[in-house]
């Protein structure tokens, strides 16, 4: 594997880490009082409540979107990690290995991810309140996630232009990794933080549930 994979992976991990540290640092400097309200117990209570599928009322009111979104997020991480082709490459580099997902299953789930993203686009186009909130950037973000999956799917099936598709797959994956810390994709670390704070305010101060 070329160096760009490692560079982009490191940018992603360290970018998120730095972002996290900067947030905590700024809270310390400007809003330290927030720390007197946040508790581990209430943070976890809220985060866990929101990780249980269809437990929060909000998610029950939009079961289709929430269900698709939930599976999408799970697959977004599981698919690349447990894909055999990726494990083989990791194994060549680090001699590390873990069980791989069945190829056919991975293939079907990839189609699932692609459909989820198409669903997100359609939702952005046709649900009026979501459309109102949507900007061009939201489509770019969807495209950035879509590309590695579509190219990965095409590469696996060796449909056309195999070499170029693989290159596009690698590049789009790397771009996605690099972009994560600098875009709203960083909600992967900020969302648990905002959830934790709101969960603490609700649980610790207001003695109420926030789901």
């Amino acid at each position: 594997m070329g160096p760009m994979v490692w560079i982009s992976a490191l940018i992603c991990i360290f970018g998120l880490l730095v972002k996290f540290i900067l947030i905590i640092k700024e809270v310390y400097e400007k809003e330290r009082y927030l720390l007197s309200y946040i508790t581990v117990r209430h943070s976890l209570r809220s985060i866990i409540a929101w990780l249980i599928p269809f437990y929060p009322r909000s998610t029950r009111m939009r079961p289709v979107y929430y269900g698709i979104s939930y599976l999408f997020h799970v697959l977004l991480f599981l698919l690349p990690v447990f894909l055999m082709s990726h494990i083989v490459l990791i194994n060549e580099s680090f001699n590390l290995s873990w069980p791989a997902m069945n190829d056919t299953a991975a293939d079907i789930l990839t189609i699932g991810v692609i459909f989820a993203l198409v669903f997100f686009v359609l939702r952005r186009r046709f649900i009026p309140d979501v459309r109102f909130l949507t900007s061009f950037m939201d489509y770019i973000l969807i495209l950035m996630v879509l590309l590695p999956f579509v190219t990965g799917f095409l590469a696996y099936h060796q449909v056309i232009l195999y070499k170029w598709i693989v290159i596009a797959h690698v590049l789009s994956g790397e771009v996605l990794l690099i972009v994560i810390p600098f875009s709203r994709f960083s909600h992967m670390i900020t969302a648990p933080l905002t959830r934790a704070y709101t969960g603490s305010e609700f649980g610790n101060i207001r003695h109420a549930r926030d789901w």
Partner: protein, 446 residues
């Protein structure tokens, strides 16, 4: 770039907003916006802005959105988009039309009830951002007229309704006098040092709902409480400055309030049935004064009544028989988790209780709180339109009496009931308690 354009709708405005707008210069606008958004906020605000994925799950939380047939511009995130996001994107260089719309959104299309942060998967506190917009409006001096007047009153008199000190004392003595005709030895102890309880109310009570103070005095009398009310400023627990973003005056109000409790050396503060006042003393005001939690134990009327009933200090003579339903005010349910206690009181005092749905933390907003009703008559009509769902929710219960343990909710719900011809009577928990309890005459042991 579809969906990115800010829609302009003809909305009500008032003189204070218009005159304020006419005074503004572009430099001042951008200076204030940037100052508030960058100096007065921190990582939390940035995280809220960066984390929102524009999914629209918050839409279903908002009674404005639901009441306006799912009009996208009323979605909570859309309110942020039409205010904060654009201010950030334009680095504060926004037009007066934009600001006119921003005042309207933040002051009249959001009750800062925080229901949306329960519907956002990330728990983004949109109410906080709407209060930031109000803070900007305050600093630009374009706050709506009627609510600004209440803040002016706070600033001058330390109460919301321009009640003068002698009027306040006079009102209490008048209630005491009336009370003594029915209940022997009833007192409204003024400025009594070292007692257990400082009882505090909002200024509208002495101004035009003095009967509520009378009722409270009768309840205190029957329960044999050792209580007092402050005779000097600091008796009003309301805080309208908290809702206009006038954090400086908001802090002054909270300080005066807690200082009067300290001066009277009381053990705890009991508050009348008001939601926003509770938010001010339990949640917001103390923070302005650098107290993580209130320096005194602050007890809302719901908690207090519950305590009196369960401790047997007051007993129920005959339960209320009319069909009742209960409205959960945001600031005591979402804001303090008192909804279950309120139900227990209702069940102890009423025989025919129907729940409304959704309820408890998920209850729909009254449409009046968060300073919206305080923006006054110019906006009443749209307030009625903006809370159709509440009327539908109320009608579905088929109840004759609606219990709402909050002043703001009371005003809002009464307006809605009248507007939608719901034939429902709005009562406080205290009203119910007063009607049903054993009003035994208390005689101190000789």
């Amino acid at each position: 770039m579809s969906g990115n354009e800010t829609i302009s709708i003809e909305k009500s405005t008032d003189d204070a907003v218009e005159n304020g707008l006419s005074r503004l210069t572009p430099q001042r606008v951008s200076h204030v916006i940037n100052q508030v958004l960058h100096q007065e906020t921190g990582a939390r605000f940035k995280a809220y802005v960066d984390t929102c994925m524009r999914c629209g799950l918050c839409s279903d939380a908002c009674s404005y959105f639901l009441s306006n047939d799912r009009d996208p511009s009323f979605s909570p995130a859309a309110k942020v988009k039409q205010t904060i996001w654009e201010m950030l994107a334009k680095k504060g260089k926004v037009s007066k039309d934009f600001l006119r719309r921003a005042v309207h959104i933040a002051h009249l299309e959001c009750n800062v009830c925080r229901r949306c942060s329960m519907y956002c998967p990330f728990g983004i506190d949109i109410a906080y951002m709407m209060l930031l917009v109000r803070r900007i409006c305050h600093k630009l001096e374009i706050t709506p007229q009627y609510i600004q007047d209440t803040v002016n009153s706070h600033s001058v008199t330390m109460n919301q309704m321009w009640v003068k000190e002698d009027e306040w004392i006079d009102t209490l003595q008048w209630q005491e006098e009336d009370g003594r005709e029915e209940f022997e030895d009833l007192r409204i102890p003024l400025d009594k040092q070292g007692v257990d309880i400082m009882y505090s109310v909002i200024a509208p009570e002495p101004k035009f709902q003095a009967g509520l103070i009378y009722q409270a005095a009768v309840i205190m009398h029957a329960a044999g409480m050792n209580w007092t009310m402050p005779a000097s400023p600091g008796w009003d627990n309301s805080n309208m400055a908290m809702f206009t973003g006038d954090n400086e005056i908001s802090g002054r109000i909270a300080r005066t309030f807690f200082e009067s409790a300290a001066r009277l050396n009381v053990k705890r503060i009991v508050m009348g049935e008001c939601g926003h006042a509770f938010r001010s003393t339990y949640d917001v005001g103390n923070r302005a004064l650098s107290w993580a939690m209130p320096p005194f134990e602050v007890v809302h009327a719901i908690e207090f009544y519950h305590e009196l009933l369960t401790a047997g200090r007051i007993s129920i003579k005959k339960k209320f028989t009319k069909r009742v339903t209960l409205h959960d005010p945001c600031n005591v349910s979402r804001g303090r988790g008192l909804h279950n206690m309120a139900r227990k009181i209702v069940n102890m005092t009423c025989s025919n209780f129907t729940e409304m749905t959704p309820n408890k933390e998920h209850n729909l907003c009254c449409g009046a709180g968060g300073g919206v009703v305080n923006c006054g008559p110019p906006y009443k009509k749209e307030r009625m339109v903006n809370n159709r769902v509440k009327a539908e929710q109320l009608a579905a219960t088929g109840a004759e009496v609606l219990i709402a343990p909050c002043h703001n909710c009371h005003s809002g719900l009464e307006d809605i009931i009248h507007h939608y011809k719901l034939n429902m009577e709005v009562k406080f928990l205290g009203d119910i308690l007063f009607e049903t309890m054993e009003k035994k005459i208390y005689r101190p042991e000789e």
